[in-house]
Amino acid sequence: MQTRIVHDSVPAASKPEPVIKTESLTKRYGSIVALGELDLEVPRNSVFGFLGPNGAGKTTTMKMLVGLARPTSGRATIFGLNSHTDGRNIRSRVGYLAQDPRFYPHLTARETLRFVARFFYHGAGRALDTRIDETLDLVGLADKAERPTRGFSGGERQRLGIAQAHINHPDLLILDEPAAALDPLGRRDVLAIIGRLREHTTVFYSTHILDDVERVSDHVAILNHGRLVASAPTRDLLDGSAGAYELTLRGSTASVVPMMRSLSWVTGVQTTADKELTRVAVSVNDEARADHDLLRVVLADDDVAVVQFGRRRSNLEEVFLDLVEGTRAVGNQTKGDQTEGNETEGRQNEYIA
């Protein structure tokens, strides 16, 4: 099953060409489908989070984009160029960070960056050294510039990996788990860098740290078992809980909850008591009426005070788990799971535009 979110507020004719576009991109290893018919578009100057559990096909996708692996079928274009036949031209405009970056152990950090820079630029003059110094400073390795990389920790290798990916100021950065080996401070810094790079480049990065995606990504795609299960602007994905409201009330809810349940457009009410506060989740099938009437109904009850009211906003973890576990439930559904399976499918359908 493939569930996709497509929010196209811009008419197709005026849409700028995506930086990355895949069409039915597929990779099989024998009978194992590592990636199945991926259709993906990465907009220019976006920070695009590519999510999925381990083994979902994220790294396979990235490797095919930079020409390290060949698609079994389908195609990918980057800057409108075919990733398979125009690989070198594409790579001259791309910076790539592998999942577990490795470098020549006898080279220092500075020598490593010089080696990489010479694939893009002439000479070894002052301009190149300046660029290297800037880049080392960007990733916080200026004080380790003359150290051979054989002594680098995982986090330092990751920083150097980001530096070498950025040394040519690429139009597109493809980063495979850029924050995975970093401590919380390092992660924060990497996310800050990614956020700033948005103005100059497109960042396509994979991760399974959902909090990071929520913080910096403006677009998200979720992959599971080699299949795309969602792709949308982050905001749309998080606002995807259509017809759900949350209230926080103080006082007795003994009368207001039955009152809400009796409304024809309310489909469900769940309460959670927390000290003197009660959190109420309300599901509705008529958002216009709920927007207009729900708060009024509650305020009409003198026994409660409304501390907070609003539409329910999902966090990415909920969305991710719903989609990833949801597809698993549907895919492995047995007769006994029928109800749960249908509910899951119903929830997923909320995301289909």
């Binding site: 020549y104 800037e134 920083r159 100021h169």
Partner: protein
């Protein structure tokens, strides 16, 4: 990390042409691994000791006449150069491609605007240069020095150079073979096994095999080298194994380049 990096550097840098293959940069890096590390002097000392010291002992053998001692020393030098250096090549070069595939540096380099052909070509250029200089040319010059200081007739430098050239071909063949095996296999075991096995089979069993088969291998190149250096006859035409090994080496290189183009990294 810096919290306010200059992301849009104004530094003027001259971009390379889009069609560049990266071979120059890769050759520079591979050469650096030979000549800016201790690799070069370890090899140089090893091969001077193995080839020139042994040859010096032979050329001063008191049981031989001066002319025979020189001839035996030349034969020893060239045969050892063809066989021992071949083993050294296999041992040294076996990890050149496989090691990078295992470590992930091959994928890293290929993710840059370089051709896969350049990746292999750079290794070939660097290892052939490294071995020819440290294990063939410099020890050959050392041998000439050893012979000149011994009480033997002068070496015919033209003939000796021809013999050294054939040995250089043998060494280059083993570099190509080992790199090709590195592309075809994913572990070092088969590479070392096949490479060293080929050398040892030639040393111990080639007498049991028909000449027509032997001339199609790199085994007789040491004999060809000695024959050219000493002006002696062979059971076969000297250029037959030379041409066959040039052709085989070219075929192995072509297969390696073709296969590496399709390698999933």
């Amino acid at each position: 990390m810096s919290t306010s990096p200059e992301l849009a550097s104004t530094t003027p840098l001259l971009p390379l042409a889009r069609r560049t293959t990266g071979v120059r940069n890769l050759v520079r890096k591979e050469m650096g691994q030979w000549w800016t590390t201790r690799t070069w002097w370890i090899h140089l000392i090893l091969w001077i000791v193995v080839l020139d010291v042994v040859s010096a002992l032979v050329v001063r053998d008191p049981d031989l006449t001066a002319a025979d001692a020189l001839a035996e020393a030349i034969r020893t030098f060239l045969l050892m150069c063809a066989a021992a250096v071949a083993v050294g090549v296999v041992v040294t070069v076996q990890g050149a491609v496989v090691g990078e595939k295992e470590l992930g540096t091959a994928a890293w380099v290929i993710s840059k605007p370089v051709s896969r052909r350049s990746f292999i070509t750079a290794k070939l250029v660097a290892h052939v240069t490294g071995f020819l200089v440290t294990a063939v040319v410099v020890p050959a010059l050392g041998f000439i020095l050893v012979a000149q200081t011994a009480d033997v007739p002068s070496i015919d430098l033209g003939r000796f150079a021809a013999g050294v050239a054939v040995v250089a071909l043998a060494v280059s063949f083993y570099v190509v073979l080992t790199l090709a095996l590195g592309v075809l296999f994913t572990g070092r075991g088969p590479i070392a096994g096949i490479g060293v096995g080929l050398v040892l089979t030639g040393l111990f069993f080639r007498g049991m095999l028909p000449t027509a088969l032997v001339v199609a291998t790199p085994w007789p190149l040491g004999d060809v080298a000695a024959s050219l250096a000493l002006g002696t006859d062979l059971d076969f035409t000297w250029y037959v194994p030379v041409l066959i090994n040039v052709a085989t080496g070219a075929a192995l290189l072509t297969i390696a380049l073709w296969r590496f183009e399709r390698e999933e990294l």
